[in-house]
């Protein structure tokens, strides 16, 4: 297939739209998942240096509640991907604090590569790595704590909600696989 021919895509198309019941379960899951992380953020960390709710968890919620069966949404990927991404992001920021564009690019690229190597590919990890680099001063001041809180703890909370909520639905099962 030619270089330009590849850009046309395949005629076979994308997967079908899901049923309304699925849409509702995805909505409920997203509401409870992000709600739990956000509420704990307010209850536990208001007035402290810590934060729990960061943007990458929105992306994780899409996978955990919108594409439950996806290999990208499994616990190994959710937890492993976020932890690796957070560590890489913090290291990149510490090494190149004065060149944010380069630190951001290296963080995202290295995160993808390491997630591949460890079979923990989880797209929101890319956002986590970027957050560590271009995040607020509050994030920067966390240093390596960023890996544990918000990233590790938040991902664990999302995992718990995914286990509790997805398995309520008759047509859902989570996870497909743990490791």
């Amino acid at each position: 297939m030619s270089y330009l021919g590849k850009m046309r895509g395949s005629a076979a198309g994308s997967p079908p739209r899901v049923s309304n019941a699925e849409v509702l379960w995805s909505w409920v899951g997203g509401l409870l998942g992000i709600g739990a992380v956000g509420l704990l953020n307010d209850l536990l960390f208001r007035g402290t240096d810590f934060v729990l709710l960061i943007a990458p968890f929105g992306a994780s919620a899409v996978l955990l509640f919108g594409a439950v069966r996806s290999p990208l949404a499994q616990p190994r990927n959710l937890i492993g991907g976020h932890l690796i991404a957070a560590l890489v992001g913090v290291i990149a920021y510490q090494l190149l604090p004065g060149v944010p564009w380069l630190a951001a690019a290296l963080a995202a690229a290295t995160t993808i590569a390491l997630m591949h190597l460890t079979r923990t590919l989880h797209p929101p990890g890319g956002a986590t790595a970027l957050t560590a680099v271009i995040g607020s001063d509050q994030i920067h001041q966390l240093g390596y704590w960023f890996v544990l809180v918000p990233v590790g703890l938040g991902a664990l909370i999302l995992l718990g909600v995914a286990l509790l909520v997805n398995n309520l639905a008759a047509n859902r099962r989570y996870p497909e696989t743990w490791l």
Partner: protein, 203 residues
């Protein structure tokens, strides 16, 4: 993005899934499937490839053949050859030269053609009407004059796909299996091959 097609998949082209088949199947599963229709087709093809190879890949002609070595010589006359085939209850036999090399195949159909009949019953009728003449013709004609030559043969280590290709390409029920020099090792019957591979149960 089609992966290279092996002879395995080509042989199983009937089992191909269309994009619509896959789409309809996906629509019946609840939940969002994180795979494109084209990728699923690709996975299916490769998996089918692998499964067919696992089921049939190890079969060799040598393991499936019947080691019966009933043969006739090219110089024998038709009546002698027919007697030997009848005794062995065979509808076709390999024709082998003095060195054991397969030079042709002699079958009931060859006799019918030679004796000018399209079916066995037509031959029977003709035999009742002009038996002497037919008997004479069988007595004076050598096997080499009516045999099918060269014979369709299989090497001893021919695999499932080579065997399948031969039975697809030629309307023969029995194929001689030969060594590198063309000497007879045994005969592979189509029904034994089909039975050994469990194909009859698959429709």
């Amino acid at each position: 993005m089609s992966a290279p097609r092996s002879p395995v998949t080509a042989a199983a082209a009937e089992l191909e899934l269309s994009a619509e088949d896959v789409y309809e199947a996906m629509a019946r599963l609840p939940g969002y499937l994180d795979i494109s229709v084209a990728d699923f087709q690709e996975v299916y093809r490769l998996a089918l490839d692998h499964a067919l190879d696992r089921l049939f890949g190890g079969r060799r002609a040598r393991d499936l053949m019947h080691p019966d070595l009933v043969t006739v010589a090219p110089s024998e006359t038709l009546d002698v050859a027919a007697r030997r085939m009848a005794e062995a209850e065979l509808k076709s036999v390999p024709v082998a030269d003095a060195g054991g090399r397969v030079v042709g195949m002699l079958s009931e159909a060859d006799y019918l053609v030679r004796l000018g009949a399209k079916t066995f019953l037509e031959l029977l009728v003709r035999f009742m009407e002009e038996g002497e003449a037919l008997q004479h013709r069988c007595h004076e004609t050598p096997v080499s004059a009516i045999m099918t030559a060269p014979a369709v043969t299989l090497a001893g280590d021919a695999d499932f796909w080579a065997i399948l290709a031969v039975f697809r390409a030629h309307a023969v029920r029995r194929v001689p299996v030969v060594d590198a020099e063309g000497r007879l090792l045994g005969v592979l019957a189509r029904k034994d091959f089909i039975h050994a591979c469990g194909l009859e149960a698959r429709g």
